[in-house]
C-alpha cells in the first residue's frame, strides 16, 4: 500500500475505534476467556485452576445436563416448524386484500412487542389450572384442561404455545418478502391457468426462500437459547425439571452454584450444537434457495 493508502487505512480505523475497542473488550476478550475457563475449575471468586477436560467429561455423566438438553431440543423441534409455518400462514392471510388490513397486521404483530416478563406473567394466568382462561375456553367444548404449569407432561407444550403467540416478528419479515414478489410472475402464471396452490408452490415459495432460510436459522438459534420465559415461569425448571432448558441450567451453574467453569463449558457445547445445526440447515436448503441477484 502507498503511504496515502496507509493513512486512509488508519483514518478508517480511527473512526471505527469505538466499535473496535468495545468489541475487543466486551466481546472478544470474554469469549476468549470463556474458552480458557471452560477448562478450569472456576467459581468467579477464586483463581481459576486448570483441570483439563474434566468439565466436558462431567457433562456426559450429569443427568440434569442431558435432561436440559433433551428439553431444549424437544422445544426447538416442535416450536420451530410450527412457528415457521404459522408465521408464514398468517403473513399470507395478511397479504390478501381484505378490509382493515393494516389494523389486522398491527394486531398480529402486537404480541411480539410485549416485554417478555409481562407476557410471561399474563401466560401464567392464562394457563392457570383452575382459573385459567385457556381451560375456561376448553370447558366450552367439553374438554377438562390439564394443569398446564404443574403437570410434567404439559409444561413444555405451555412454553411452546407461548412461543407461537409471539410469531409476529418473523411474520413481519415474511410479509415484507411477500410484498416483494413481482406481480407479473403471478399474472403470467394465471394466464397459463395455474391454480392458487401451484402459484404458491412455484412462485411464492421460491421467491421468498431467502427469507424462509433466514427465519429458519434465526429460529434455530433463538429456540436453542430460550431462557427468559421458562426462567420466569418455572424458575428452577418446574415439576421434575420438565421445563428446565439448557440456558437456564447454564445460568444456575454460573450464578447460583458457583460453577462458572462448568457453565462456560456448557456454553461452548451449545455453541457447537448451534453451529452444527446451522451448517446442516444451510447444507440442506442450499439448492432450494433462490437469490435474484445471483
Amino acid at each position: 500500500m502507498t503511504k496515502r493508502e496507509w493513512r486512509e487505512f488508519f483514518t478508517g480505523l480511527g473512526f471505527i475505534s469505538p466499535w473496535i475497542i468495545g468489541f475487543l473488550a466486551f466481546v472478544l476478550y470474554p469469549v476468549g476467556a470463556s474458552i480458557y475457563y471452560s477448562f478450569c475449575d472456576y467459581d468467579v471468586l477464586t483463581r481459576p485452576v486448570w483441570i483439563g477436560t474434566l468439565n466436558y467429561q462431567d457433562m456426559f455423566t450429569d443427568e440434569v445436563f442431558w435432561k436440559s438438553l433433551r428439553n431444549t431440543l424437544y422445544f426447538a423441534a416442535v416450536s420451530l416448524p410450527f412457528g415457521l409455518v404459522l408465521a408464514l400462514l398468517v403473513a399470507i392471510l395478511l397479504n390478501q386484500k381484505v378490509k382493515m388490513r393494516p389494523g389486522f397486521r398491527t394486531i398480529y404483530f402486537l404480541p411480539s412487542l410485549v416485554p417478555v416478563v409481562a407476557s410471561s406473567m399474563i401466560w401464567l394466568w392464562i394457563l392457570n389450572g383452575r382459573f385459567g382462561l385457556l381451560n375456561y375456553a376448553l370447558s366450552f367444548i367439553g374438554v377438562e384442561g390439564p394443569n398446564w404449569l404443574s403437570d410434567e407432561n404439559w409444561t413444555k407444550p405451555s412454553i411452546i404455545l407461548m412461543s407461537l403467540w409471539g410469531v409476529g416478528g418473523s411474520m413481519v419479515i415474511y410479509l415484507a418478502a411477500l410484498q416483494d414478489v413481482p406481480r407479473e410472475l403471478y399474472e403470467s402464471a394465471e394466464i397459463d391457468g395455474a391454480s392458487s396452490w401451484t402459484k404458491f408452490r412455484h412462485i411464492t415459495v421460491p421467491m421468498i426462500s431467502p427469507v424462509l432460510y433466514f427465519n429458519l436459522i434465526m429460529g434455530i438459534i433463538g429456540s436453542l437459547q430460550v431462557f427468559a420465559q421458562p426462567f420466569i415461569m418455572f424458575g428452577g425448571g418446574g415439576t421434575n425439571r420438565s421445563a428446565l432448558f439448557y440456558a437456564v441450567y447454564l445460568y444456575q451453574n454460573a450464578f447460583q452454584y458457583n460453577q462458572m467453569g462448568y457453565a462456560c463449558a456448557m456454553a461452548w457445547v451449545l455453541f457447537i450444537i448451534i453451529l452444527f445445526l446451522t451448517w446442516l440447515a444451510t447444507k440442506g436448503t442450499r439448492k432450494h434457495i433462490y437469490y435474484a441477484g445471483e
Binding site: 483514518t11 480511527g14 475505534s17 477464586t46 389450572g129 382459573f131 394443569n147 425448571g237 450464578f255 447460583q256
Partner: protein
C-alpha cells in the same frame, strides 16, 4: 491542509475521546472519596431489605451515624445481593459492609471473599455467651467467625382458629404430634362430592371409603398440606429426627428418617388425590397477597417463619390465628423442633474500612440497637438476653414462642456446606417427584444422595487442595 489530514485528525480525536471515556468509565469508579464532606469515614453498606424492613435498618444506621462523628454508614438497597456481592468482590470493588444470609457464609468464606472477624471480636470482647448459641454457630465455619447476626428467624406452626372452631375442634389446642396434625387436618378439610346427582359439601372425615379411594371429590378448604407454601422441601426430615448431612463430609439425604418424612409427605397426595391437590393449589394467590391460601382461609395450618406476622397484619388483619411449635413425629424424643436461619452482617474481602465497618456491626449487636432493629422488622433478638420491654412492646404476641424455639436444643441450623443452594434445589425436585407420585421417596432421595454427594466430594477435593494455604492466611490475619 488536505482533507485526508483533517480526517486523520478527526479520527484521532474520536479515538482519544473514546479511550478517555472508556478509561474513566472503568478505572475512575474507585476514585470517589471515601470521606463525607465533613471528613467522616464513609462506610458503604449493601443490604437486601426494602419496605418497612429497610426502614427499620435505616433507623439503626441513622442512630449509629448520630452516635459518633468519625464514621458515616451509607446504606444502599441491593436486590439479588448474594450474586451482586460475589461479582463485586471478584471484580475487586466490593462494598465495605454487606448484609447476607447465613447460608451464604460457607461459599463466601471458603472462597476467600470474607474477612475473618476473630481478632476484632476478641478486641471488642464479644463471645458466644452473648448470643443464642445457634445463631453464633451459624456465623462460624472451620474455626473462624465470618459474620454477626442482624435479624434471626425460626419457624413454627400457624393455625387459623376460626377454621378449627367451624370444624368442631378446640381452637386453642394445636396438634402436638404428626398423627394429630394429619387427623385434625382431615377433620377441617371441606370437600364437595356428588351424591345422587347432587353436589354436597361435607368434611373429609364424612366421606365413604369408596369416595376416598376414588378421590371423587373437590377440595374446598384444606386442613393441612406439607406442599404449602412449598418452601420446606429440604427440611421435613428435621421433624422426624433426620438431618441433611453428618456435619462433616457426608450427605444424608436418604437417611431412614428423611425417607420416613417424605413417605408422610407423599401420604398427602395419596390421601387427597394428586389432581384434587393440583386443582386446589392452582387457586392459590401470591404469597404476599390477600389471596395467600392461609390468609384467605383456604388452608387452616401452615408452617411459617416469624415474618408471617407482618403479612397477616398487612393482608388479613381480621384473621384469628395462633402459633405453636410445629409437631414432630415423637414429641417426647424431639420436642420444639424448628429450623433456624439468620440474616448476617459481613465484611467482604477488599473492604476499604474493615475496622469502621466492624464498628457498625458491633453497634448493631448491642442490645438496644438489636432490639430496635428486630422490633422494627418484627422478629426477635439473636442476643442471649432479651429485655422485657422488647417482648411487651412487640406487636406479634407469639414472639416468645419463636424465641423459645430458637433456644431449643432441637433448633436446627441451615447446613453449613458450600453446596447448600444446589442441595435445596435437588431436594425440591425430589419433593416434586414424590408429591406428583413420579417416584417413591427411596428412589427420589436416593437420586439426591448420589448427585449431592458427588457434588460435595468435588467441592471438598478442591477445599483439601487449598485448605492449608487458606487456614494459614486466615490465621495470619488474626
Amino acid at each position: 491542509m488536505s482533507s485526508i489530514t483533517k480526517h486523520a485528525q478527526l479520527a484521532c480525536l474520536t479515538f482519544l475521546v473514546f479511550v478517555a471515556a472508556f478509561v474513566c468509565g472503568t478505572g475512575c469508579v474507585r476514585a470517589p472519596s471515601d470521606r463525607t464532606e465533613d471528613g467522616r469515614i464513609l462506610v458503604e453498606y449493601w443490604e437486601k431489605w426494602t419496605g418497612f424492613e429497610g426502614d427499620a435498618m435505616q433507623a439503626v444506621v441513622d442512630d449509629f451515624n448520630r452516635s459518633q462523628d468519625r464514621i458515616f454508614v451509607r446504606k444502599l438497597t441491593v436486590s439479588n445481593i448474594d450474586h451482586k456481592m460475589m461479582l463485586a468482590t471478584a471484580g475487586g470493588n466490593p462494598p465495605d459492609l454487606a448484609g447476607l444470609w447465613s447460608h451464604n457464609i460457607p461459599v463466601y468464606a471458603e472462597k476467600g471473599a470474607l474477612t475473618p472477624l476473630n481478632r476484632l471480636l476478641e478486641e471488642a470482647g464479644i463471645t458466644r455467651d452473648d448470643y443464642i448459641p445457634v445463631f453464633w454457630d451459624l456465623c462460624q465455619l472451620r474455626g473462624f467467625m465470618w459474620a454477626l447476626p442482624s435479624t434471626p428467624a425460626s419457624v413454627a406452626l400457624h393455625w387459623n382458629k376460626k377454621m378449627f372452631r367451624d370444624a368442631g375442634l378446640d381452637p386453642e389446642r394445636p396438634p402436638r404430634t404428626i398423627e394429630e396434625l394429619d387427623r385434625m387436618g382431615e377433620q377441617i378439610t371441606l370437600v364437595e362430592v356428588k351424591r345422587n346427582g347432587k353436589k354436597e359439601r361435607i368434611r373429609f372425615t364424612e366421606l365413604t371409603d369408596e369416595e376416598r379411594a376414588s378421590h371423587s371429590f373437590d377440595i374446598i378448604t384444606l386442613g393441612y398440606t406439607p406442599s404449602e407454601p412449598g418452601w420446606w422441601n429440604a427440611v421435613w426430615g428435621y421433624w422426624f429426627g433426620g438431618r441433611l448431612w453428618d456435619e462433616d463430609r457426608k450427605i444424608t439425604a436418604n437417611s431412614p428418617e428423611n425417607i420416613e418424612a417424605f413417605t408422610w409427605f407423599q401420604g398427602y397426595t395419596k390421601k387427597y388425590g394428586l389432581n384434587n391437590l393440583r386443582k386446589f393449589g392452582a387457586a392459590f394467590g401470591n404469597f404476599a397477597s390477600p389471596q395467600n391460601p392461609f390468609l384467605a382461609g383456604q388452608v387452616a395450618m401452615v408452617m411459617q417463619g416469624v415474618w408471617m406476622y407482618n403479612f397477616i397484619d398487612k393482608y388479613a388483619p381480621e384473621l384469628e390465628w395462633a402459633v405453636a411449635p410445629f409437631p414432630s413425629r415423637d414429641p417426647e424424643k424431639w420436642p420444639n423442633v424448628t429450623m433456624v436461619e439468620c440474616d448476617v452482617l459481613v465484611i467482604p474481602r477488599g473492604s476499604r474500612h474493615e475496622r469502621e465497618a466492624f464498628e457498625f456491626i458491633k453497634y448493631v449487636n448491642t442490645q438496644p440497637a438489636m432490639e430496635k432493629l428486630n422490633l422494627g422488622q418484627r422478629k426477635f433478638s439473636a442476643l442471649a438476653t432479651t429485655s422485657d420491654d422488647f417482648i411487651r412492646s412487640h406487636p406479634n404476641r407469639y414472639i416468645e414462642t419463636f424465641l423459645a424455639l430458637a433456644r431449643s436444643p432441637n433448633a436446627i441450623p441451615v447446613p453449613r456446606i458450600s453446596v447448600y443452594n444446589e442441595y435445596v434445589d435437588e431436594m425440591s425436585v425430589a419433593a416434586d417427584r414424590i408429591f406428583n407420585l413420579l417416584a417413591t421417596p427411596e428412589v427420589a432421595l436416593g437420586d439426591v444422595q448420589a448427585r449431592m454427594q458427588w457434588k460435595f466430594d468435588r467441592v471438598l477435593r478442591r477445599w483439601d487442595l487449598i485448605k492449608d494455604d487458606r487456614l494459614k492466611e486466615w490465621s495470619a490475619e488474626q
